[in-house]
């Protein structure tokens, strides 16, 4: 097939972007592999501790985002909500905000002298510098990704199918679980992945709000930064490579899962 000059140009542009996005990751992994850094890092307790903390906190953030984000997304998709535009802008805001702004804002509300943090402090509960703060920081920046996806998913469900289930005597809860949720799943799955991935990569809000301490608030991205600051480039590369591999693995695995779910739904 003969390609037009514009097609060739577009192809070259796209290829350049793939190179631009791929080369840094390749260089990172190459340095980790050729330097034999991965086995070393995999055996380093600091990296393992941070990886474990990252997994636990991101799963907690994801659970929080789903638990609180699903009702909100459903309401935004289905109900008449007053001030919808403002509400949607508010929910999307953390996606646009620099994470450092999020960290500062969280400190002002949940810090030991914050609007909520102050009264909590009087009760003997402090949030900053704890693992809870890490989860809250991650949820703040990542939950909007789930709400966006779920909103689109719920809005796209054919209401006639739900009505049909109701006619057959299904309860509202049953309609939601057995009709709405499965039909919205193809949109929810990528939302879950994006939310988790954003939480995994969270750095700025975490270091400002939760601080940086091994085993408690030092997630893998903080290890990468900390090791680099300390001049331990190899350790930084090793931690970064583990982060890349973990993220890549999940993205690829879930991509496959997402397609299967989509096909399952279509075959209903």
């Amino acid at each position: 097939m003969k390609r037009s000059p514009i097609g060739l140009l577009a192809g070259a542009g796209g290829g350049l972007l793939v190179l631009f996005l791929g080369l840094p990751i390749l260089a990172l992994l190459a340095r980790a592999v050729t330097g034999g850094l991965l086995p070393e890092a995999a055996g380093a307790s600091a990296v393992l501790e941070a990886l474990g903390l990252s997994l636990v906190t991101t799963l907690a953030s994801l659970a929080l985002a789903v638990a609180l984000g699903t009702p909100l997304a459903y309401a935004l998709a289905r109900r008449r909500v007053r001030g919808r535009a403002l509400l949607e802008a508010l929910v999307d805001l953390p996606i646009v905000l620099p994470p450092a702004v999020a960290g500062l804002a969280l400190l002002l509300v949940l810090g030991r002298r914050g609007w909520i943090g102050g009264p909590l402090e009087a009760l003997g509960i402090s949030i900053p510098f704890t693992t809870v703060a890490v989860v809250l920081a991650q949820t703040f920046v990542a939950a909007p990704f789930f709400v966006r996806a779920a909103r689109t998913g719920f809005a796209g469900v054919d209401r006639h199918l739900e009505d049909a289930a109701r006619v057959d005597g299904a309860s509202e809860a049953s309609v939601f679980w057995h009709v709405t949720l499965p039909l919205a799943a193809p949109a929810l799955a990528p939302g879950l992945v994006m939310t988790w991935a954003r939480a995994l990569g969270e750095f700025g809000a975490t270091i400002m709000f939760a601080g940086n301490f091994a085993g408690r608030t030092q997630t893998l991205p903080l290890v990468v930064y900390g090791e680099f600051q300390a001049g331990a480039l190899d350790a930084a590369v090793a931690a970064a490579a583990i982060l890349v591999l973990a993220a890549l693995g999940v993205l690829i695995a879930v991509r496959g899962f997402g397609w299967r779910r989509a096909l399952d739904v279509r075959s209903i």
Binding site: N212, R216, G226
Partner: protein
């Protein structure tokens, strides 16, 4: 004068956009000085004076932990001078042929303890820092002040009246290791942390903290050293600034911020 922590990023972008790389106008020299976070106010003031005294030289200052700045220089960040809160980091650059020795001592400093003005943890003495439940913020392990703090804690622990396991008790109360000493100071100013070890000059720069003194017998002398960086495009001007900073004019400005002059003066 601009302050920037993003020189490495800018440098990376400059690689992509060669046109953006063109230097300052002819006839003027722009010196980039990487400086310890604890020098933030003092060196900004000193730099203003230097620019007035030396027409045609403008300074760009970049403040962070000395160890982080050393890393940036090792990774090729384009700078002309490193003004460090210790002698070890600039010496490491000299040993690695990345800076022109010898390291010139230009100031000294001491440690103190800061607490929020309201002092929620009721810290009145360094001994109180080992009490369970006190939230202390420190700096990264490789940051110069962390080594000074370790020395100070060891000396405190040896004083009469300090309990066994004092240093370990303090260490176990550290809840966060911030980027640099000024970030730790900020967390105390905000009231998020109960206490931090900082330099005397950091405490003097803040209105929002109270000072808890360290007994003179246990205090530690922080020695600040600077070097001209080898890759500098203006080696003569860089060396001149290093010498000026250690000289009487530089020392007198730093003294107004509470820094002690270099030893042997």
């Amino acid at each position: 004068m601009r302050r920037s922590r993003w020189l490495p990023v800018v440098a990376a972008l400059a690689l992509l956009v060669p046109a953006a790389c063109s230097a300052a106008p002819a006839g003027s020299v722009e010196l980039t000085v990487f400086a310890a976070a604890s020098l933030s106010d003092a060196l900004t003031a000193a730099g203003n004076v230097y620019e007035v005294d030396n027409r045609g030289v403008s300074l760009t200052l970049s403040f962070d932990a000395s160890s982080a700045l050393r890393t940036q220089i090792e990774q090729g960040a384009p700078g002309d001078v490193l003004a460090s809160a210790d002698m070890a980091n600039p010496q490491a650059l000299v040993d690695g042929k990345l800076a022109v020795g010898p390291v010139v001592q230009f100031a000294r400093n001491e440690l103190t303890i800061v607490v929020p003005a309201a002092n929620p943890a009721r810290i009145g003495d360094p001994r109180d820092l080992a009490r369970p439940g006190v939230w202390i913020v420190g700096a990264g392990e490789s940051v110069p002040i962390s080594r000074y703090i370790d020395e100070c804690l060891a000396k405190l622990a040896a004083l009469p009246g300090y309990p066994a396991g004092y240093a370990a008790g303090v260490a176990s109360n550290v809840v966060s290791r911030e980027d640099n000493v000024r970030a730790a100071l900020t967390k105390v100013e905000l009231g998020e942390a109960d206490a931090a070890f900082v330099y005397v000059t950091d405490a003097a720069a803040s209105d929002a903290v109270e000072v808890v003194g360290i007994p003179a017998a246990a205090n530690v002398e922080a020695v600040y050293g600077s070097v001209a960086i080898s890759g500098s495009r203006h080696p003569a001007e860089a060396a001149a600034f290093v010498a000026w900073l250690a000289g009487p004019r530089g020392a007198s400005i730093l003294a107004t911020f509470g820094f002690l002059g270099p030893a042997g003066e």
